[in-house]
């Protein structure tokens, strides 16, 4: 077990494409670190550099106290779980798991003990003599995990190990991997593009965009205090609603305007975000999480200046919550981060710009399932204004203050 340090790690591919740019990260001993980001953001490249499958262009990768830049993968004492499992098709489950130990010339009885123990942990005892092709996707995934576990390595590296499983199995394996990692206390780096996976599994999550680290922190930290628009939009499901707004001040009272509707800010918000005062009279980007809305009928004591009126275009009752889609008359903010997020959600930048010109903006609110909101009806939604997020349209950074 060891800590992993990335110090200004850069990866440049031929043609000067920068896949990873000056990545700085300390992964603590025994920590479960998740790299998350849209596809092509460099998270897998970063993982492969830790594994030694990709050379490091600049900077240092350290495992324990050792700089491993020029150490071949076989001497790094790490185990990796691949996206497509990469099981050796000509070997049985047992031999797949034992392969690394055999190469290390481990004692036969010790190999047998470790393989059987791992098989027990994974519930694979009865499949040890099978070949991978005779296994289901979930079972293959387990073998891939087993192959990593038996090695008792310094670190586990996992490259989207669950992305080939169906939704149900994915949830099950998610908790299983979490449990195994917790029991073994092995430093783990886990790459995924699924932010739900990242949030549920990681001790800490590193959000990466275009090869650059955006923010690293605990899941709650990322959710509650995103440092920029990208992190705010990427983390959370459904994702945060953004709109351009103007911050107004009159007699020490602050409020912001979404279209022609005004929401008042409490003093608490301003004391938490002292920098916000500097933006009085200026344009800002406001972010409201769907979860911070509530049906006004179920929160009748909420003051008038925390309410938004709109028409419910679409109502989706999931059971645990109800999703209300509505259009706000506030324009979409266009920044690089917004474009990146739109692309990740399957919309291109052009469509985004066209929508911005119309001055309309699609919002999603998740409200209590007891809500009686009907599709097509006028609704009133209460916004928890203490939890609204603010961003500078110039640099996409969150407006916090106090040195943040």
């Amino acid at each position: 077990m060891a800590e992993i340090k990335l110090e200004k790690v850069t990866k440049r591919f031929a043609g000067d494409t920068v896949a990873v740019n000056e990545l700085d990260l300390d992964i603590k001993d025994g920590e479960f670190m998740v790299f998350v980001g849209p596809s092509g953001c460099g998270k897998t490249t970063a993982l492969r550099m830790i594994a030694g499958l990709e050379s490091v262009s600049e900077g240092d990768v350290k495992i324990g106290d050792r700089v491993v830049n020029d150490v071949p993968p076989k001497d790094r004492d790490i185990a990796m779980v691949f996206q497509n499992y990469a099981l050796y098709p000509h070997m049985t489950v047992y031999d797949n798991m034992a392969f690394g130990l055999k190469l290390a010339k481990t004692d036969k009885s010790e190999i047998d003990r470790r393989v059987k123990e791992a098989a027990k942990v994974l519930g694979m005892q009865e499949f040890l003599s099978r070949k991978p092709r005779a296994l289901s996707g979930g079972q293959r995934q387990r073998v891939a995990m087993g192959r990593a576990i038996v090695r008792e390595p310094q670190a586990f590296l996992m490259d989207e190990p669950l992305s080939n499983l169906d939704a149900k199995l994915r949830v099950q394996m998610r908790s299983e991997i979490g449990r195994i990692q917790h029991d073994l206390e092995v430093t783990t780096v886990y790459v995924t593009h699924d932010q739900v996976e990242a949030m549920t599994m990681g001790d800490r999550v590193a959000v990466i965009k275009k090869g650059e680290l955006q923010q690293v922190g605990s899941p709650t930290e990322l959710f509650q205090k995103p440092l920029n628009l990208f992190v705010a939009g990427f983390i959370g499901s459904p994702s945060m609603n953004f709109a351009s707004a103007t911050l107004e001040e009159s007699g020490g009272e602050y409020s912001f305007k979404l279209g022609d509707q005004t929401l008042k800010l409490e003093d608490k918000v301003l004391s938490e975000r002292p920098d916000l005062k500097n933006y009085a009279g200026k344009d800002i980007i406001v972010g409201i999480r769907p979860q911070d809305f509530e049906d006004a009928e179920l929160a009748s004591d909420a003051p008038e200046d925390t309410r938004l009126k709109a028409k419910a275009d679409l109502v989706e009752a999931i059971g645990t919550e109800t999703l209300i889609h509505f259009v706000m008359d506030a324009p979409i903010a266009i920044t690089d981060d917004m474009k990146e997020l739109a692309q990740d959600a399957g919309t291109d930048a052009k469509t985004l710009e066209e929508r911005a010109k119309e001055g309309k903006n699609e919002f999603v609110a998740t409200v209590d399932p007891r809500s009686n909101i009907k599709e097509g009806s006028q609704v009133e939604l209460v916004v928890d204004t203490t939890r609204v997020h603010f961003f500078d349209p110039e640099n996409s950074k969150g407006i916090h203050g106090n040195g943040r």
Binding site: K74, I78, F82, H90, F99
Partner: protein, 295 residues
């Protein structure tokens, strides 16, 4: 196609089912005809090789009129085919083994290891497939004399591996390189992370997965080496190292009247080819990599 259950259907002479059966039937008839044309000479040879010599002169084309296994053993001992068989093995086995060992290693390196001049080396090997044997057989003749190999089995084995008469390493590299290129890179990476050296990646992971390719190469080279005629004729003049191909030729040209022995010699020569083909036929089917990746 008429729609099923249309009212007019029962008035037609042929229903779609009948038509389909007729089409299948005629297809089979054609295939059977071609099968007979292809197989008849072979069956005739086998039949003649197993017959009593006296009856052949009475009715040369009768099939399996009688079975006399002694004809085969006569050919083996009296005709000298036992010795030819041994010589053929001594030539074929090293040729096949040498070609496989060199081709798999070179094919792997050319497919999966990055080094300068990689493509140049590959295309140079491919030249070996393009040079006709007839253009080099005389220079090779003198070269073998100079090397002191003329007349020994090596005079046929080494050029055989090198692909002088086609196949050999050039074909092997071509085949194996393509095969190794198709194997998923993740398997090699998984092995490397598991602690394998580059040679162990090759030997323990990639080579077993290339088994179908190796089988194809092995069988092709075996067929060619077993049946080759011109090289042994030119470079193995004496009786001592003579293989079946030239042995049969010289035997047949010397004793025209012993049809049953010539046929029996042919059977001795053909039989291993058939056996090898039947054994490796299944390995031809690429099924081994199934299950490596999500399928």
């Amino acid at each position: 196609m008429a729609s099923v259950g249309a009212p007019a259907e029962h008035t037609r002479m042929f229903s779609p089912l009948h038509r389909r059966m007729a089409a299948t039937g005629s297809r089979y008839a054609i295939l059977v005809l071609f099968g007979v044309i292809t197989l008849y000479p072979f069956i005739l040879v086998v039949s003649t090789g197993l017959r009593d010599p006296v009856s052949i002169n009475v009715n040369p084309f009768a099939l399996f009129e009688n079975i006399r296994l002694a004809t085969i053993s006569d050919a083996w001992t009296l005709g000298g085919f036992g010795g030819y068989f041994k010589n053929t093995l001594l030539i074929t086995v090293p040729t096949v083994a040498g070609t496989i060992v060199l081709s798999t290693m070179a094919g792997y390196a050319l497919a999966r290891i990055q080094f300068p001049g990689r493509n140049l080396i590959f295309f140079t090997f491919m030249l070996g497939l393009m040079i006709p044997f007839t253009s080099i057989m005389i220079p090779l003749f003198y070269e073998l004399i100079d090397l002191g190999l003329f007349g020994s089995v090596w005079a046929v084995i080494l050029p055989g591996i090198a692909g002088s008469a086609g196949f050999g390493v050039p074909l092997g590299i071509f085949l194996m390189r393509a095969f190794f290129q198709d194997l998923p890179n993740e398997l090699a990476e998984a092995a490397r992370v598991d602690g394998a050296t580059e040679f162990q990646v090759f030997r323990k992971v990639m080579l077993p997965l290339a088994a179908p390719g190796i089988a194809v190469l092995g069988v092709l080279v075996f067929f060619q080496s077993w049946n080759q005629f011109l090289m042994p004729l030119l470079y193995l003049p004496g009786e001592e190292n003579r293989p079946l191909s030239t042995g049969l030729y010289i035997f047949a040209s010397g004793r025209v009247q012993d049809f049953e022995l010539i046929a029996a010699g042919s059977v001795i020569m053909i039989l291993p080819v058939i056996v090898i083909f039947l054994i490796f036929q299944r390995t031809f089917v690429k099924g081994v990599t199934a299950g490596a990746l999500k399928g």
